[in-house]
């Protein structure tokens, strides 16, 4: 079986078609590069039609260290999130301390999952195979969770042929039901040679009236991210 897969992989490589692994690696490089700082805005639309916009700053170091600072609206100003591997903490100013939070939480009442935003490491979390794509100039891979710890059981990821930029993601739960779907657009060169979708719309497929939109304002690679920023004691400082 293993050799068969290897044969398949190598034959695909010869045909200059990217392998499923290459697509995953590209996705991780685009959506979750090693060290970066980003300023984003998330607008969450809820079933009653009301919408709320959150302003936040991300800082990431290595593969699995993240900080998030919320600046807007007033009700969440001063909140912070720290994620180190499997552990996640939230700092709430009115609690005056950090507390652990679950990984599967929705991100500020929106339809992004903590795992969608903070931990993007599909190569580590999922096994992937190429499947026929319904779009002509696109490639689709199907991702299957390696463990039960991941946010989703299965993901169908569609990327653009050529530069492999993400176009669409469909996320499935353990029951096989599609929970969310994401549309990636406005691919923009934030830094020389670094292109990334500036707009992601996450549609809640269970409650159709719910969706969240994340717009990236700025994205800087290889910034200074000192290790003390990724200590629990630094939260709220």
């Amino acid at each position: 079986m293993r050799t068969l897969v290897l044969c398949l992989v190598s034959s695909l490589a010869f045909a200059a078609e990217p392998t499923a692994q290459e697509i995953l690696a590209k996705y991780d490089a685009v959506m979750g590069p090693g060290t970066f700082e980003a300023q984003t805005e998330m607008t969450a639309t809820r079933e009653d039609g009301s919408a709320r916009t959150y302003g936040m700053r991300f800082l990431k170091r290595d593969a699995d260290k993240f900080r998030v600072w919320f600046s807007e609206p007033a009700s969440v100003k001063g909140q912070e999130i720290l994620r180190l591997g499997d552990n996640a903490w939230v700092y709430l100013p009115n609690l005056k301390r950090a507390t652990r939070i679950a990984n599967r939480d929705s991100f500020q009442g929106g339809d992004f999952n903590n795992a969608d935003v903070l931990r993007v490491n599909y190569t580590a979390d999922y096994d992937a195979v190429l499947v026929p794509s319904d779009k002509a100039d696109a490639l689709t891979v199907e991702l299957k969770a390696k463990s039960t710890e991941t946010a989703y059981d299965k993901i169908r990821l569609t990327v653009r042929k050529g530069d492999l930029q993400p176009l669409k993601g469909e996320y499935f739960g353990t029951s096989g039901q599609m929970i969310r779907s994401a549309t990636f657009s406005e691919h923009k060169e934030f830094e020389k040679g670094f292109v990334r979708p500036a707009r992601i719309v996450m549609q809640n497929e269970v409650v159709k009236a719910r969706k969240s939109e994340m717009v990236t304002k700025s994205f800087k690679l290889n910034v200074d991210a000192p290790p003390q920023r990724f200590m629990q004691a630094d939260l709220g400082k």
């Binding site: 709320r52 009700s75 969440v76 609690l95 301390r97 652990r100 939070i101 200590m231």
Partner: protein, 433 residues
């Protein structure tokens, strides 16, 4: 009438056989009534635990709340004003009103040891846990008048109930609290430092994350099915957490149970107006319907088997009686009795057996049910750990139906033996030895 007299006399001829059949009938019908009474009592117990311990007799919500209960019901809240409370309280039959908020939250327990200085991770066993649960927020002074059983169940658990309407305290289900190892704070002791308290995190009314530091002051023993991942918190702490000052999602209402609940429900609905909906406790607990349906199904099978076995005994007894009386039947036919009358005679015997046996059985069953109803059986409700009194009960209609079933069944069971008797040829029957 003569037929009936004849039937009675015939039954008395072989007393032992009649007695055995009779006892089987009494025991069968008696057991049927008793089992039914027990099932009814158990059902009542579940419902009363729900009413007196979870919901209250009536619940007032914003219109559309119950339909959307799985969505985001925090937005379907209402202002808890003295006027609105007074409107509900003024309805005849209403005894108490308790404002509440129902919401989903995440409980985060503190780490058991401080984080290592070198920035490495704590071993898994020492880490605090996060867990989702459903919380009900209330003012303990008001809630106690609506769902007093919570206090009873707390007595079977640990600790104390929330100490005030604004206390930053939590009371959890005991199984759940032990399962996730939540530290308990003894009322009156010095409060632990903030980082050693529990955190309750929840999206507020606008879905922005918020939190409140609390301590667990008590744990309620499980008393109803599906009550494990639940807890209660003070109304004040919840309103602060959810940023819902002066707002609630429901009123729990206690009602004088001597009155017709549906009528009071209608009166409360009229008093609060069309912006609200009012439900009785029975309307709010769909899982009870499942339990009821399963129980009815099982009871149907059990009572059918019981009746079938008892009636087989009747068939056997009647057949014996026919075989014993071949010569007698031959004589009756010879002196001009019609075959139809022979059939009637044996069926009449069956009817008398069924009616008397069934009636006595039903009466005995009913007597047991009535006695147990006044005495009460101390066992936990299904899915509960707290013992409570089960009071069996049956209605008169069921008792009457049981007697009717026994009578009709016995008549039916005599049909074949009676037909066989009527088919005898007089000459052969007379010669029978």
């Amino acid at each position: 009438m003569a037929l009936l007299k004849l039937a009675l006399r015939n039954l008395r001829r072989n007393r032992r056989r009649t007695a055995i059949t009779f006892v089987a009938l009494v025991a069968g019908v008696g057991a049927m009534v008793a089992i039914k009474g027990f099932i009814n009592g158990q059902r009542r117990q579940i419902l009363e635990n729900q009413m007196r311990g979870n919901l209250g007799a009536l619940q007032v919500h914003k219109k559309g709340y119950v339909e959307n209960v799985l969505g985001s019901p925090l937005t379907l809240d209402f202002a808890d004003t003295p006027e609105l409370r007074a409107k509900v309280a003024a309805v005849p039959g209403v005894k108490a009103v308790s404002p509440r908020i129902e919401f989903g939250a995440q409980l985060s327990t503190p780490d058991k040891k401080p984080l290592p200085e070198d920035g490495s991770e704590l071993p898994e066993a020492d880490r605090g846990i996060t867990s989702f649960l459903m919380l009900t927020a209330f003012d303990p002074a008001l809630e106690r008048q609506v769902t007093p059983k919570r206090w009873e169940w707390l007595g079977a658990g640990r600790g104390e109930m929330l100490q005030s309407a604004t206390a930053e305290q939590l009371v959890l289900n005991d199984d759940f609290a032990r399962g996730v190892d939540v530290p308990m704070w003894k009322a009156g002791a010095e409060l632990p430092p903030i980082e050693q308290r529990l955190a309750v995190l929840a999206p507020d009314r606008d879905s922005s994350l918020n939190g409140v530091n609390v301590v667990m002051i008590g744990a309620i023993a499980s008393a109803t099915p599906n009550d494990r991942r639940v807890g209660v918190i003070s109304l004040g702490a919840a309103q602060q957490l959810l940023r819902m000052e002066g707002r609630v999602t429901e009123y729990g209402v206690d009602v004088d149970l001597k009155l017709d609940l549906e009528q009071v429900r209608g009166a409360v609905a009229a008093a609060v107006g069309p912006d609200y909906e009012v439900h009785t406790w029975e309307q709010r607990i769909p899982f009870v319907k499942d339990i009821v349906e399963t129980q009815d199904f099982i009871f149907g099978i059990v009572s059918s088997i019981l009746l079938f076995v008892v009636l087989l005994g009747v068939v056997n007894a009647m057949l014996m009686s026919v075989l014993e009386r071949v010569r007698e039947i031959g004589t009756m036919l010879a002196v001009g009795m019609k075959r139809r009358q022979i059939v009637s005679l044996f069926i009449a015997e069956g009817i008398v057996l069924g009616l008397v046996g069934g009636a006595l059985g039903a009466l005995l069953g009913w007597a047991w049910v009535s006695y147990m109803n006044s005495k009460g059986i101390s066992i936990p409700a299904p899915g509960a750990k707290v013992p409570s009194l089960l009071r069996p009960s049956v209605d008169v209609l069921f008792v009457a139906r049981a007697i009717l079933q026994a009578t009709a069944g016995a008549a039916l069971a005599s049909l074949w033996p009676a037909w066989r008797a009527s088919r005898l040829r007089p000459v052969e029957a007379l010669a029978h030895t």
